[in-house]
Structures are given as C-alpha cells and as structure tokens.
C-alpha cells in the first residue's frame, strides 16, 4: 500500500507561471513533511519542509499548503523558472519510526 501519493506524475508550465504539485498521505501519525528536489544526474536535496502545527510554510517562491483534515498538502512554485525544472518528491515521517516514506515524484519542466 502506497503511503504517500503524488500527482501529477509530470507537469509542464511556462516561465513565470505557478506550478502546483500535490501530495496526499494515509498514515495519520505522519508529523513531518519534507519536499526534496532532484536535478538530473544529481542526488535529492531538501527544498522545504512543514510540520502539522502549521498549515502553511513559505520560503521565497516556494510555499507548502497543508490540510491535516484531508491529509493533503501541495507545493506551490510561483514565478516558475527554467532552473526549477527537476523531480520533486514529497516525503513523510512519523516520530515513532524514523523511516521516511517518499512519494514517486513529480517531474516538473519549466519552459522559457
């Protein structure tokens, strides 16, 4: 059973548009939700993260919106740039088991 689901699988936007990447989860004990991005031929790196005490986390052009009741979150990338083209992974961790679970990723392409 897939614990963390991401949609869409791939997304293409034009430079300057807002990209919206979605994530949902099953386990209500998850209490930490990091997003990692991965550029081609590189390793994943932390982009931004949120804990359920907040429903929004902002870092520059990147914002996480979190809905605990619906077990959903989304990553909004405003004013998208070609350099944002990467695969984005939503992950979740429960304080009880230390084992981060990753979604399958969303591949984002930003056209100039």
């Amino acid at each position: 059973q897939q614990q963390v689901r991401q949609s869409p699988q791939s997304l293409t936007v034009w430079e300057g548009e807002t990209a919206i990447l979605n994530c949902s989860y099953e386990d209500s004990t998850f209490d930490y939700f990091p997003w990692y991005w991965q550029f081609p031929r590189e390793s994943p790196a932390l982009l931004i993260a949120i804990r359920p005490v907040s429903n929004k986390k902002e870092d520059g052009r990147f914002t996480i919106f979190f809905n605990k009741r619906e077990k959903k979150l989304s990553l909004h990338i405003t004013d998208s740039q070609p350099g944002d083209s990467a695969t984005y992974f939503c992950a979740a961790t429960s304080g009880g088991n230390y084992k981060p679970t990753f979604g399958k990723g969303t591949s984002l392409v930003v056209h100039p």
Binding site: Y32, P34, E42, S43, P44, K99, T101, G103, K104
Partner: protein
C-alpha cells in the same frame, strides 16, 4: 564540510557476484539509510541504521544486508546479485531525531548483467 560520500560511483557486476557498496559521512550523524531509486518508483527504503550495530529493515530489504561497525560508515551488501537489483543506490544520513532532513550521497549506479 558536510558530506555523504559513496563508493564506487558506477559499478558493473555479473549475476551471482557479490556486491559491496560503501557510504561514509563526516557529520557524526547517528542515523543512516540506504535507498534505491528506479524510474517511476521514487525512493524505496532498503535499510535504516540508528547507530553502530543497530539496523532495521526498510520496505524492501529482501536480497540485501547491511553493516555498520563505525558511526561514520554504512555498507550495503548484495550476496549473489540479481539482474533486478540493477538500480541507483543512495545512501543518506540524518541527525538522531525522527523529523530531521536527510543528507544524500551522490549515488551509486549499479548494473547487474
């Protein structure tokens, strides 16, 4: 300099051979991980290590074993490699807390022929 180092970067093995992937970190992190990444499947956790000789299975441990004899080193061993173990393997580390960021190595691309 915070770094997770993986060796080797690329590896080609024949089916049935043994494989050793090595990982080191210089951040004194207690927790270390091995993931594999396949196209369209994201990152799948193979094993997690909470400290020296304190290892736990992840979601896909079958066909793999690990060794952690020093806090800074974590090895992944494939005994008698199979073709379906062809993948990119990532090692990661984090501080000893359930909700901490992972630092990833650059990955090892393993091909089993």
């Amino acid at each position: 300099d915070m770094k997770v180092t993986q060796m080797p970067r690329y590896l080609i093995k024949r089916m049935g051979e043994n494989v050793l992937l090595e990982c080191g970190q210089d951040m004194s992190h207690e927790t270390m991980y091995w993931y594999r990444q396949d196209p369209g499947l994201g990152l799948q956790l193979i094993y997690i290590s909470y400290d020296v000789d304190s290892n736990s299975e992840g979601d896909i441990p079958k066909g793999y074993r690990v060794s952690r004899k020093k806090r800074e080193h974590f090895s992944l061993i494939l005994d008698s490699a199979k073709t379906n173990q062809t993948s990119v393997y990532f090692c990661a580390s984090s501080r000893d807390s359930p909700n901490e960021r992972l630092f990833f190595g650059h990955g090892t691309k393993l091909s089993v022929l």
